[in-house]
């Protein structure tokens, strides 16, 4: 996973929804309303950033350390759910 660059899978779309005050992940005939941390992680999965870069950015934004296990666990889950593909 370290060498890969995650991005939102073809056919999926991440967007901020004002009516729900949340990021939603849209896909064929379905949607997932994301909590704040899931939205923050997925919004950085653009195919350009590596996993360490995503973790570093999040730790900087939230002024904390030790986010790596949580971020990696979520990226694993998102990959299993077919939300992400890896470049």
């Amino acid at each position: 996973m370290d060498s890969g660059h995650p991005c939102i899978r073809r056919g999926f779309r991440l967007q901020w929804e004002e009516a729900q005050q949340a990021h939603v992940l849209l896909y064929p005939e379905g949607m997932v309303k994301l909590n704040a941390s899931a939205g923050a992680i997925l919004s950085r999965c653009d195919g350009a950033r590596s996993v360490p870069e995503i973790i570093a950015e999040l730790e900087q934004q939230y002024a904390c350390t030790g986010l790596e296990p949580e971020v990696r666990a979520f990226l694993n889950l998102a990959t299993e759910q077919r939300w992400l593909q890896w470049a």
Binding site: R10, G11, R13, Q15, E17, A19, Q20, V24, L26, Y27, P28, E29, G30, M31, R82
Partner: protein, 374 residues
């Protein structure tokens, strides 16, 4: 529930653009009296509906029918849906899809196409739709893939094709579908008319589900297989449309707004028209959308049931079709006083008298002959 403050936005707008369709499927969910509702909303009306529903919070937009490709303004509507930020889905038989139109839809920003097949073979596919369409559907599938769309292949499963489920899955693999939706027939509208012909046995269903599970394991992440179980073999009903007036907003070709695409059959319920009322008022304040919202309206035994939040008493249309009371507990539930009707239907499926009543195929002439709206 009458307080609009407690009502969330619809997530799904289902835009039924037309009841016109080149197919004549015996399990179609369009109302059996569709020929009496031939008037269609104008392009301008549909554009306004898209804007109003999006302003309310809808994010998924399904363009369906009938066959939505019969509308020559489809690309205009798709472009507006894209501009507004919807995730747009075209739900199609594929008939009428050609190189020019799929390019135009792609340029307009269409996100995804769901393509229906009736079976894995030309003979059964064409028999079930009463048209020669199998080869056209295969061409449509190739066009969809050529434009790099995620493709959902949909096949309604019933007694006449359930034994072919493995071949249907193989066809989806061959066509490189991203998803295969094996939607066991639900008995509304035309399917209800043909229930004796279409209802599989419990054993057939279990076998089909086991085969699907084997293929899931075999395919892994290559293709997502969805197997939608039919109500009639459950002991608890499904939550009607994920909650009446909770997720889905359907607008029919003539502009009638419904909380579910078959709800027009329910007597004594005033469903407003988008020509006369804006979408926000329809969703939040109309009697039709509030009547069965939440759980406050539930009768016994549902009212005292610890599972009421799970199923909200089940499907209103099914309750009405089977008991003539839209407010009754869905007879699928084994706590219903009418559950015997479901048990009888299961029993009939094991001893079908298939020759006594021929299949009734969906069509305008047949539709005009029908008195009851289900």
């Amino acid at each position: 529930m009458g307080m609009s403050e407690a009502i969330g936005p619809p997530f799904w707008l289902l835009a039924e653009l037309t009841y016109r369709c080149p197919l004549h499927c015996a399990f179609c969910y369009n109302p059996v009296d569709f020929a009496r509702h031939e008037e269609e909303l104008s392009t301008e009306d549909w554009l306004r509906v898209l804007r109003e529903a999006r302003a309310l919070g809808a994010v998924q937009c399904g363009f369906s029918g009938g066959e939505p490709l019969q509308r020559d303004d489809l690309e205009v509507l798709v472009a507006e849906a894209h501009r507004l930020g919807y995730y747009s889905n075209l739900i199609t038989s594929g008939i009428g899809l050609n190189e020019r139109r799929i390019r135009a839809l792609k340029d307009a920003g269409l996100d995804h196409i769901q393509l229906s097949f009736q079976d894995s073979t030309r003979e059964v596919n064409d028999f079930l739709s009463s048209t020669r369409t199998f080869d056209l559907k295969r061409k449509a599938a190739a066009l969809i893939k050529s434009q790099n769309y995620p493709m959902v292949m949909n096949c309604v499963i019933h007694r006449l094709n359930i034994e072919h489920i493995e071949r249907i899955i193989e066809l989806a693999v061959e066509l490189d579908a991203d998803y295969l939706e094996l939607a066991n027939v639900q008995f509304y509208a035309w399917a209800q008319r043909n229930r004796a012909q279409l209802m599989p046995t419990h054993e057939q269903l279990q076998r089909a589900e086991a085969i699907t599970q084997q293929w899931r394991e075999r395919l892994g992440t290559r293709m997502k297989l969805l197997f939608v179980v039919p109500d009639y073999y459950e002991s608890r009903p499904k939550k009607c449309m994920n909650g009446w007036g909770n997720v889905f907003l359907t607008v029919t070709p003539d502009g009638t707004a419904l909380p579910c695409h078959t709800a027009r059959m329910l007597p004594g319920l005033a469903f407003p028209n988008v020509r006369e009322m804006n979408v926000a008022d329809i969703w939040l304040r109309s009697e039709g959308f509030n009547r069965y919202r939440g759980t406050g309206w539930l009768p016994e035994p549902c009212r005292s049931c610890p599972e009421k939040e799970k199923d909200h008493g089940g499907c209103r249309c099914q309750a009405y079709m089977l008991t003539q009371d839209a407010g009754a507990t869905d007879p699928v539930c084994d706590k219903s006083a009418h559950h015997e009707l479901i048990l009888q239907a299961r029993e009939q499926a094991t001893q079908p008298k298939l020759t006594e009543q021929p299949l009734i195929f969906r069509g305008p002439a047949e539709s005009r002959r029908i008195d009851q709206p289900f």
